[in-house]
């Protein structure tokens, strides 16, 4: 119960209501029913021995009075909105107060949206809201009314830094119980390695403009569809894909057609809000691969099965497989594996996804490269270190190396690696390698459950679709956000992300896929308030029934 958590106004309103309720009950009790009788002879005699109830006097029937008092207290506790402490997950919300606008009205609107967002999602019995702004300030204690949030937020200092985030996370982590979550309402953050298992979800920071683009999807019909929203419910998209067009949103969807314009102006015809949408993701043309005559035949199968790759003529190729072909094109060569090098000079070779490719090769092959053991491949390793072969330490044989020649980069693979039967992921990995060489931005290759950082221009919801029909959604505020994907191949607006089983198991809380950013709302809240209300109604009913039947002792 959080009676004291009520605001003073709510407290006194409740107290007044309690008093008024009691008074009303007493008034109801002294509202006498008139009954005409043939004679008052005996009634007068008995009435002289019986003192009737009076409004201002002490109640004669204490049991009735206590019954009414109990019913009113139940109503009062219902008003206090209690909850069973032990049940239901909670959410500790950290709001980036530094993101709040400086202007008074904009700032109020910002916090109002924060409050609306929280009200729609619920906090659970132990949930609380903190403002992160240089230091961590409590905005809402558990079970406090969300309406207090705006008033307390108005007292926060303007500006400030987000330096208290990690302290807030530490504090929140200490309060977590099984099933609880931490919601971060602010720009994308990257957690330290030791906090990878923290059940952290990111929510978009409210923006003053009540107009936005949720997603851009390629409809099965072949049309690009813009999912938009606005506070008024009306959105018009202005764009120029050869001829100026104005399209009005229907059910939050704007069908753009087969061509995706680079720039779309979204506007709300009612509120006059206007936003420019620069589309960050566009369909890419397939990578043209020239297959030299001596290239392993397995590459042909690979290219034919990968929709992102097409066979091309020599002159038009983006990438060459084999020795022949244009000298200026990046090249993937398969060597016979005899080129043994001096041992233990290997380093991680390239940016994503190549280091992961190598890591994958290493772990799948069951070989241990001792020098790399200490320096596990991960994103961010400098390319300048990647010039040598990766060598199988147990056999001393070379595996793969990246050659940054004068004309174009060249990736060299040992031919004995190309064993598609032993390694089912190899076609995928080779496809990635070809894309790296072709200069394409590659789909992320990511250990399942680990944070995947995405660059996003627009705030909204990112929806991932898997090949087996699953769908995952994440909220993002831009310009970047961090998501965690379960195992599988995922599509995001035409981009592919491969999430493969991680070597080390993740903490249960982190590994559990989030079905939707739409967090559980009031449906998960405790039924106790309603039980109290029901109890009060039953008590009042019993009281009145007993009273009218004169059964009260």
């Amino acid at each position: 119960m959080t009676l004291l958590g009520l605001s003073p106004f709510a407290f006194f309103v409740g107290l007044g209501a309690l008093f008024a309720g009691l008074l009303l009950l007493q008034m109801l009790r002294v509202r006498l029913r008139r009954a005409r009788v043939d004679s008052l002879l005996f009634f007068v005699e008995i009435a002289e021995q019986q003192r009737p109830r009076s409004l201002l006097g002490l109640p004669r029937r204490w049991l009735s009075f206590l019954l009414a008092l109990l019913a009113l207290f139940l109503l009062w506790f219902r008003y206090a909105d209690p909850a069973l402490e032990a049940k239901g997950p909670s959410r500790i919300v950290l709001v980036d107060a530094a993101q709040a606008p400086q202007g008074k009205e904009a700032r109020a609107a910002y916090w109002r949206k924060v409050r609306e967002g929280l009200e729609s999602k619920g906090l659970g019995p132990r949930g609380a809201v903190y403002a992160v702004q240089g230091q961590c300030s409590l905005l809402l204690a558990p079970k406090e009314a969300p309406s207090l949030l705006e008033r307390r937020a108005a007292e926060l200092p303007l500006g400030g830094q987000r330096s208290g985030l990690y302290e807030a996370l530490q504090m929140a982590a200490e309060r977590l119980r099984a099933g609880d979550q931490i919601l971060w309402m602010g720009p994308g953050i990257e957690l330290p390695h030791t906090w990878q298992g923290l059940p952290l979800l990111q929510l978009p920071t409210p923006e003053p403009a009540e107009l936005g683009c949720e997603s851009i999807l390629l409809d099965p019909s072949g049309d690009w569809v813009l999912r938009v929203w606005s506070s008024s419910g009306q959105v018009v998209a202005d764009f120029d894909d050869g001829r100026p067009r104005h399209l009005e949103a229907k059910d939050g969807r704007i069908v753009l057609g087969a061509q995706l314009p680079e720039r779309i102006v979204l506007r709300d015809p009612l509120s006059k809000i206007q936003r420019v949408l620069q589309l960050p993701l566009r369909a890419k043309p397939p990578l043209r691969v020239f297959l030299s005559p001596k290239a392993p035949e397995i590459f042909r199968d690979l290219i034919l099965s990968d929709p992102g790759l097409i066979l091309a003529e020599n002159a038009a190729a983006d990438v060459v497989v084999g020795q022949a072909g244009p000298a200026q094109a990046p090249r993937l060569r398969v060597l016979d594996g005899t080129a043994t090098q001096s041992p233990v000079q290997a380093r991680v070779l390239a940016d994503l996804p190549l280091p992961i490719l190598l890591s994958k090769l290493r772990s799948d092959q069951g070989r241990c490269l001792d020098p790399l053991q200490e320096e596990a491949p991960r994103p961010g390793i400098s390319r300048t270190q990647a010039r040598d072969w990766v060598v199988d330490a147990s056999s001393g044989r070379a595996l793969v190396r990246m050659v940054t020649g004068e004309n174009a980069p060249e990736l060299q693979l040992a031919s004995w690696l190309l064993d598609f039967e032993d390694d089912r992921d190899l076609p995928l990995l080779l496809g990635f390698a070809l894309r790296v060489l072709g200069g394409q931005r590659l789909p992320a290759l990511q250990p399942a459950g680990s944070p995947l950082k995405l660059a996003v221009r627009e705030a909204g919801v990112l929806r991932f679709h898997s090949q087996d029909g699953r769908e995952l959604s994440f909220a993002s505020t831009g310009p970047s956000c961090s998501v965690r994907l379960p195992e599988g191949v995922w599509q995001l607006d035409g981009e592919r992300i491969v999430s493969y089983p991680a070597a080390a198991p993740l903490p249960a809380a982190a590994a559990a896929p989030s079905k939707s950013p739409q967090l559980a709302s009031f449906a998960e809240r405790s039924p106790l308030p309603w039980l109290l209300l029901l109890g009060a109604a039953i008590l009042l009913g019993v009281d009145m029934l007993l009273y009218h039947r004169a059964r009260l002792p």
Binding site: R33, R36, V37, D38, S39, R549, A550
Partner: protein
């Protein structure tokens, strides 16, 4: 509160069935119990009756026809034969015509007491008139109403019925006042038949006190409304007296109803005990049952004698 008209048409009050039942009722009333008739009365005056009672010496001026010649032959003195003179019994009906007799209070059921009261007076008067008694009816509410003067003879019964039928009910119950007034009247002693609900606001003690001052033999006929001994009331009530329009605020619950019933039964017992001490009779007539049948039952059981 169900309220009836303040008087009823004669056809409804004294219908053919009621009138037909009176002869049977008279037969039941003739079955005199061992203790004799309640209303039987012999005059102390010696007169021209047929029943010999005594002799006395002749004095000048006495009627020669009353001289006992047989006694003269034996004693050689004149003696007069004395006979008891029969006189008719004056029966005074005091009929409660207050408003409580004409209405049905909340929590009670059945027809109002008015019809039963009028039929009781009619039935008893019929028997008395057939016996040759003299009957008068004094209605009263808070004040005494116009009286039906003493009448006798069976031919007077029709007149009595007509007079009862035109009687109107209303006003408060002034039973104690009526009894006090009646006690002060001068006249021959007779039988006072009081037909009422006996619910005088003055209270039971005042009613009993006033009854005790009556110089007449008493027959108390209490007309009862079904449910009056335990009214179906509950809760916080403002009770309004139908006669006085006075009010009392009560909380009616089980204990209240228990106390009410105790007070009611105590009054019942007091009236019965009083009548018994005065060698009178106390009978109850329920308003929801046929009056002739109830009277017949009372005669048969000996609870009522005339």
């Amino acid at each position: 509160m169900a309220e009836t008209d303040e008087n009823l048409p004669s056809e409804e009050l004294f219908d053919a069935e009621f009138l037909a039942s009176l002869d049977a009722l008279r037969i039941w009333a003739r079955m005199v119990p061992a203790g004799g008739r309640h209303a039987e009365q012999r005059s102390k005056a010696r007169g021209s009756g047929v029943e010999f009672t005594d002799v006395r010496p002749y004095s000048p001026g006495d009627d020669f026809r009353a001289i006992d010649w047989a006694l003269f032959q034996r004693l050689d003195k004149f003696f007069l034969r004395l006979f008891l003179e029969d006189e008719d019994l004056p029966v005074h009906f005091l009929l409660d015509s207050s408003r409580s007799m004409a209405v049905v209070g909340e929590g009670q059921v059945g027809p109002p007491r008015m019809k039963s009261a009028l039929q009781s007076v009619a039935a008893l008067a019929y028997i008395l008139l057939e016996q040759g008694d003299r009957v008068s009816v004094q209605p009263f509410a808070d004040q005494p109403g116009p009286e039906l003067p003493g009448t006798s003879g069976s031919r007077s019964f029709r007149r009595l019925l007509a007079w009862l039928a035109q009687l109107r009910f209303g006003g408060g119950t002034g039973l104690v006042d009526m009894l006090q007034r009646f006690a002060q009247r001068r006249g021959r002693r007779g039988l006072a038949v009081i037909v009422s609900d006996f619910l005088d606001p003055a209270g039971p003690a005042a009613v009993l006190g006033a009854l005790g001052k009556l110089p007449h033999a008493l027959l108390l006929v209490r007309i009862k409304q079904p449910g009056e001994e335990q009214p179906q009331l509950a809760g916080e009530l403002r009770l309004v007296d139908c006669e006085q329009e006075s009010e009392v605020t009560v909380t009616v619950d089980k204990s209240f109803l228990q106390r009410y019933r105790e007070a009611y039964m105590r009054y019942d017992a007091d009236l019965r005990s009083f009548a018994s001490k005065r060698r009178g009779h106390y009978v109850e007539i329920r308003s929801d049952q046929a009056v002739p049948r109830q009277l017949a039952q009372l005669f048969r059981s000996g609870a009522l004698q005339l």
